[in-house]
């Protein structure tokens, strides 16, 4: 039963992060939503390792990958925020909509 509890926690974190990534206008707040979703992957990976196949290291390796993805996402997100703020003085996605053209 504990596996299901851990996965429910992961599902809740993923849903909250998805809400943030979809609803927020600020680039940094969108990054926070994505980080919550990666956090859910960490919980699910660690729980899968412990409750399903602890004799194999796959779950732990997945957690390491997720932690690295989180660092890469944050660094790239801040770099993009800096670039777009410098170029147009905006930090909101809606104000950067003309990037589509």
């Amino acid at each position: 039963m504990m596996l299901q509890l851990f996965l429910l926690l992961a599902a809740a974190l993923l849903a909250i992060g998805l809400y943030g990534a979809l609803s927020q206008q600020s680039i940094v707040m969108i990054m926070m939503g994505i980080e919550l979703m990666v956090n859910a992957v960490i919980v699910a990976g660690a729980a899968s390792w412990w409750f399903l196949s602890p004799h194999r290291p796959d779950g732990q390796v997945l957690v390491v990958v997720a932690i690295t993805v989180m660092a890469v996402e944050m660094a790239m997100g801040f770099a993009v925020t800096t670039a777009i703020f410098r170029a147009r003085d905006v930090d909101m996605t809606d104000m950067a909509a003309d990037l589509k053209k």
Binding site: M2, L3, Q4, L5, F6, L7, L8, L9, A11, A12, L13, L14, A15, I16, G17, L18, Y19, L22, S23, Q24, Q25, S26, V28, M29, M31, M32, G33, L36, N39, I42, V43, A46, A47, W49, W50, F51, L52, S53, P54, H55, P57, Q60, V61, V63, V64, V65, I67, T68, M70, A71, V72, M74, M76, F78, A79, V80, A83, F85, D91, M92
Partner: protein
């Protein structure tokens, strides 16, 4: 006892995660996200993953402090002195998020999960280290390359004027093209 700690931390992680998009201050949102990460790290520690749990705690403290600095630099209302709203399509986003949670929860509760195969190793950290330096070496190499590419890309994106701005696309300009005269080589 473990169940009590898990439930307290799980509820705390979800509540802090929800608070990120609910509070009126950028600084508070950042530290709410940090609290969510720390609660999750305690739950990871409950699974005997001492190294990864401590790694999450240390990394997230630093990451959120850096994020707080960026939030205060770029965004409005860092102190929460007035209500702020920077959302679009709140209702649609909420519906998608709730629907996603319900589908995932139904799958989690209805699927017949397999029973555990094998026993946990005596030292999970050693198992991880040997995997990353052995059978999962390719994963470690790709992560290293990705981190290196990130360093290069972030510097290129974040710098205001680089050598190509100053010395031309072919780097063949004799004197740098700077907006203010003077400095090295002038």
């Amino acid at each position: 006892m473990q169940l009590v700690v898990f439930v307290v931390c799980a509820v705390g992680a979800v509540a802090a995660g929800a608070a990120v998009f609910w509070v009126d201050s950028m600084a508070r949102a950042t530290f709410a996200l940090l609290a969510s990460f720390l609660f999750v790290a305690v739950d990871v520690l409950l699974l005997d993953l001492a190294y990864l749990g401590v790694l999450i705690i240390l990394m997230m403290i630093m990451e959120m402090v850096v994020m707080a600095v960026f939030m205060i630099m770029y965004m409005m209302n860092p102190a929460g002195l007035m209500p702020m709203s920077m959302v679009h399509n709140r209702r649609g986003s909420l519906a998608i998020a709730v629907g996603t949670f319900l589908v995932l929860a139904a799958g989690i509760l209805l699927i017949h999960w397999p029973t555990r195969r094998g026993a946990p190793p005596a030292e999970p950290t050693r198992q991880l280290g040997e995997a990353l330096m052995g059978s999962k070496m390719l994963v470690m190499m790709v992560l290293g390359l990705a981190l290196f590419a990130t360093m290069v890309a972030t510097v290129v994106l974040a710098q205001h004027r680089g050598r190509y701005h100053r010395y031309g696309d072919e780097l063949d300009r004799r004197a740098p093209d700077d907006p203010i005269r003077g400095g090295v080589g002038r």
